[in-house]
Symmetry: C2
């Protein structure tokens, strides 16, 4: 495998949710002090804050704002709920503009009360409904396929092939995909589907963490890079072979790590990034 370890942190981004106990100002200060160059902002971190000022604060810390997490959750059996979801995605686009985030990651959603096919159609319709707003705002949208264990409620888009199909069907330079190793590492078609992203120039984001054996919680037990069985560096080689030169975004939801001292955890992230990502 012709890929080298990261020699610096110029392409390291951390998601605010990774260090959830910190408010965004504390997170930004610590990320910057550690030499981290990118931040992806989860919307909960913006609650009660002036978003424009928060964006300025992040840039003053020397951080690139990589993306806003998250839009999506389009499907619902009830039409009124779908309308609310579309409204919320328009709000997310406004927030991205205020923050200065060039990209929104879409966790597309699913409703266990209807078929996956219906949920997928509603996802496509939902993205189509906000495309003009995204275009006017100059904000890109990344469809993030989620692990099949989330197909009931979090996303009816569960493989990169599905995300690629949908991005291609929507025919907009603003719509692409996010590749998260946690969701996709098991897929035998992963290498070819990542290459397909490259052909379409729509690989917009690359998220990393690890899959622990055993995994004790379906949502909140993600591992640090190197703690699990995901071939992160191999997958990165496929991503970079498409020409991708964006950030490697560390997105870890972990009850275990959230209970630790977050400064010590951030040091572990930096070490794991250098050694395993």
């Amino acid at each position: 495998m012709n890929i080298k370890a990261h020699t610096d942190l110029s392409r390291l981004c951390v998601h605010t949710i990774t260090t959830k106990p910190w408010d965004i100002a504390t997170a930004a200060r610590h990320y910057a002090a550690a030499g981290i160059k990118g931040i992806t902002v989860w919307r909960d971190a913006l609650e009660g804050r002036d978003i424009r000022q928060t964006g300025n604060m992040l840039r003053e810390e020397g951080l690139s704002i990589v993306s806003l997490c998250r839009g999506g959750f389009f499907p619902a059996k009830e039409k009124a709920k779908r309308k609310l979801a579309i409204d919320d995605n328009r709000k997310a686009i406004e927030e991205a503009v205020a923050l200065g985030a060039p990209l929104i990651v879409l966790v597309c959603g699913a409703d266990p009360g209807q078929s996956l096919e219906d949920s997928r159609q509603q996802i496509r319709d939902g993205i189509a409904a906000v495309l003009d707003d995204a275009s006017a705002a100059g904000v890109k949208l990344a469809i993030e396929p989620l692990h099949p264990m989330y197909a009931d409620t979090r996303s009816a888009i569960n493989t990169l092939a599905q995300a690629n199909d949908m991005a291609e069907a929507l025919r907009s330079p603003l719509v692409g995909v996010a590749v998260d190793v946690y969701h996709l590492w098991w897929d035998p078609a992963l290498e070819q589907e990542i290459a397909r992203c490259g052909e379409n120039s729509h690989l917009f984001a690359f998220h990393i963490c690890d899959w622990k054996s055993p995994t004790t919680d379906m949502l909140l037990d993600r591992g640090l890079m190197g703690e699990g069985c995901i071939p992160i560096r191999k997958i990165r080689s496929w991503v970079e072979a498409t020409g991708f030169s964006g950030f490697n975004e560390v997105e870890i939801f972990s009850i275990k790590y959230w209970q630790e001292d977050q400064s010590a955890f951030l040091e572990k992230i930096v070490t794991a990034y250098r050694e395993h990502a």
Copy 2:
């Protein structure tokens, strides 16, 4: 969807693990009394018993022995462990013969200490290594693709496409696949891959239960048919469109249901089978 509810229990099979608190004699007595016609025997239910006599007991209760669960677990980084796994699969074939089971379900295995590609190759090599034994014994082998959330340790075969590929590559009338709705319901290629099983006459088993929202345990929180979001009857229509006329096997691992009175649980299974399967 042109498929009807089950009007009788002639094609209902229950896995011994579904009523785990019962020993196999108790299970058989209750299944038969409920009008259930098939039983799939998990190997733990045979521990300490004379297997031939157990097979006779089951037939005397009027039960068809549908399959023996489970063989497989072929991959291991260490060669000595792979050898042990092959020996254990040979033992399973002997047990199937003694019991009078025509089929062994393979949970293929995975080793998080090596790549998925290596695990897949070892699965193929492992099945190939026992094929002569299976052939001499007249015992069929069903590759069961497992949900991607089990790709680290339980199976590196996670889609029906992969199972079909492997079954076709092994080119034996003894090797086919098992379709379990719990593992495969999310897959957008499921209908076409079930049809492909039919073209090759290698759909050997059909397992049912449901995916609960939320699911609270990655292994032991399966639902009764109708309790979750799996379109069981739609998937059954695809299975039957291949010409499949075998049993509908109820395989539920559930801490919750194992804590209940098993007679009451069996009644719920029968009701759920009529109403939702």
